[in-house]
Subunit: 246 residues, 2 copies
DNA sequence: TTTTCCTGTTGACCTAAATCAAGCAACCGA
DNA sequence: TCGGTTGCTTGATTTAGGTCAACAGGAAAA
């Protein structure tokens, strides 16, 4: 079931692109990097074949060798505790990088699975470390990416610890909206890549509560819901609901 | 109220120590670093004067220049959202490093306050970045430290999202016990450096629930509680309670 | 076509923890 | 010594969200 991380490289030949052509490079590489250096990074990156929905990229305990940038599709990461309880720890969209939790003890700290057909860029971390010694802006960039992950995880702790169901759901919607619009997609109409189950798991709620919360937000006219299709009618109000607390 | 981060360096002269003498160096520096390199790191680190309980090290929005290692005492970090709601995001004990959330946008992402009289080592981050270019094991070490922060934040998301009050409190106690024993202190008898208020805030519970949970764990014979003084009678059972879920 | 499966929605009821309230012990400044 | 404050505990009551149950629509299989 787990995709061999050494074997997800594209073997079709029809996905060929380089970092310098990639319209996501502003997200996963430092903006102030010159072409020559981008090229050096480009050469160590392995572009994956399409990963199917439900296919795993790696699992907890697998040896850590790489971090991964999402090129297309969407990815979720989750922990499994000793009792088999699952905790979704993040959703990753194109331009976002995952896998930083594996560096600490050279072993991946979570499970990573594709939520739809997705493509990834595999970034061998040791090679990045070597390059970082020669390209200071690259070193800085990876420190920054990890730092941003820490900040967003702390925001998530705030959400889980202090907000009620409405606040949690609204916070997720606003986050997704912002991340879509960063890629020049609509900030008001979006298709959720994840199930109600995953949303509930991520937000510490049951699917029933997630469903009821969507319905309530719709009844209040703030959003329109049609399955996974969400339209945000009133961004202001949604923003306000984000602060709804226990 | 905020301590000027540029001005917490020790001016007394009576706290003089170097990294190579420090019995915490195994925690904040790579074990496999040779003396010459330790010495280079040593020279960029500023050791702080004692910070009083309640004194802030820095606040959200302050310019980021350094991360900090706790030398003695204990530190808490917390977020304040727009409505002034506080979220404690971490407790830091001697040998632990905080401040990694500031790298992402060159601005500190949280507030940091001392919970008792503490001393810190200020680690100017740009200098570490420079040294890291020359000492690969140091670069790797800082990537690892940040990665460990991410992993522990993900564990915290699991705790907040899936565990009931007993599970949360037990998880905190086990974490503290492990961290104390890592410094060769007792794993069974510990003095909590933080108030019930801080515990509740961190764990997403009210102080009343925290208090009741301590009482219940005591009634079950798993721990003994005397104010902030905790004795763990049955580590096994406490470990089991950690998995108690909603 | 029907059947099954899967995901999501809605309703009725229940419970863990929040809220509200009271009180106690330790500490501190007057 | 006293009055006030702070930190913590305990009890009574309320409530948000969990649990259990039923059902609906769409997709895929029979």
């Amino acid at each position: 079931m787990t995709t061999d991380p050494y074997n997800i490289a594209c073997t079709h030949g029809f996905i060929q692109s380089s970092c310098s052509d990639c319209n996501l490079k502003g997200l996963c590489l430092p903006i102030a990097m010159d072409l020559k250096d981008i090229d050096r990074v480009d050469h160590i990156i392995k572009r994956s074949r399409p990963i199917q929905a439900g296919e795993h990229i790696y699992r907890t305990g697998d040896g850590f060798t790489s971090v991964f940038a999402v090129r297309s599709g969407s990815i979720k990461t989750y922990l499994l505790d000793d009792d088999g309880v699952e905790q979704v720890t993040g959703f990753y969209l194109p331009g976002e990088i995952l896998g930083f939790d594996g560096i600490g003890n050279n072993t991946h700290g979570c499970n990573v699975v594709s939520m739809e057909t997705s493509t990834l860029c595999e970034i061998p971390f040791e090679r990045i470390e070597e390059l970082s010694l020669q390209i200071p802006v690259l070193q800085r960039h990876f420190f920054q990416l990890m730092s941003q992950q820490i900040e967003s995880d702390h925001q998530m702790m705030m959400t889980l610890s202090k907000k009620n169901a409405e606040g949690r759901v609204a916070t997720l919607l606003v986050s997704l909206s912002n991340r879509f619009s960063r890629r020049n997609l609509s900030a008001t109409s979006l298709r959720l890549p994840m199930s109600r189950m995953d949303i509930g798991n991520f937000l510490g709620l049951t699917i029933e509560t997630v469903s009821r919360t969507f319905s309530r937000l719709q009844k209040e006219g703030i959003i329109n819901v049609d399955g996974r299709e969400i339209h945000i009618n009133d961004h202001e109000k949604l923003q306000a609901v984000c602060h709804a607390s226990k």
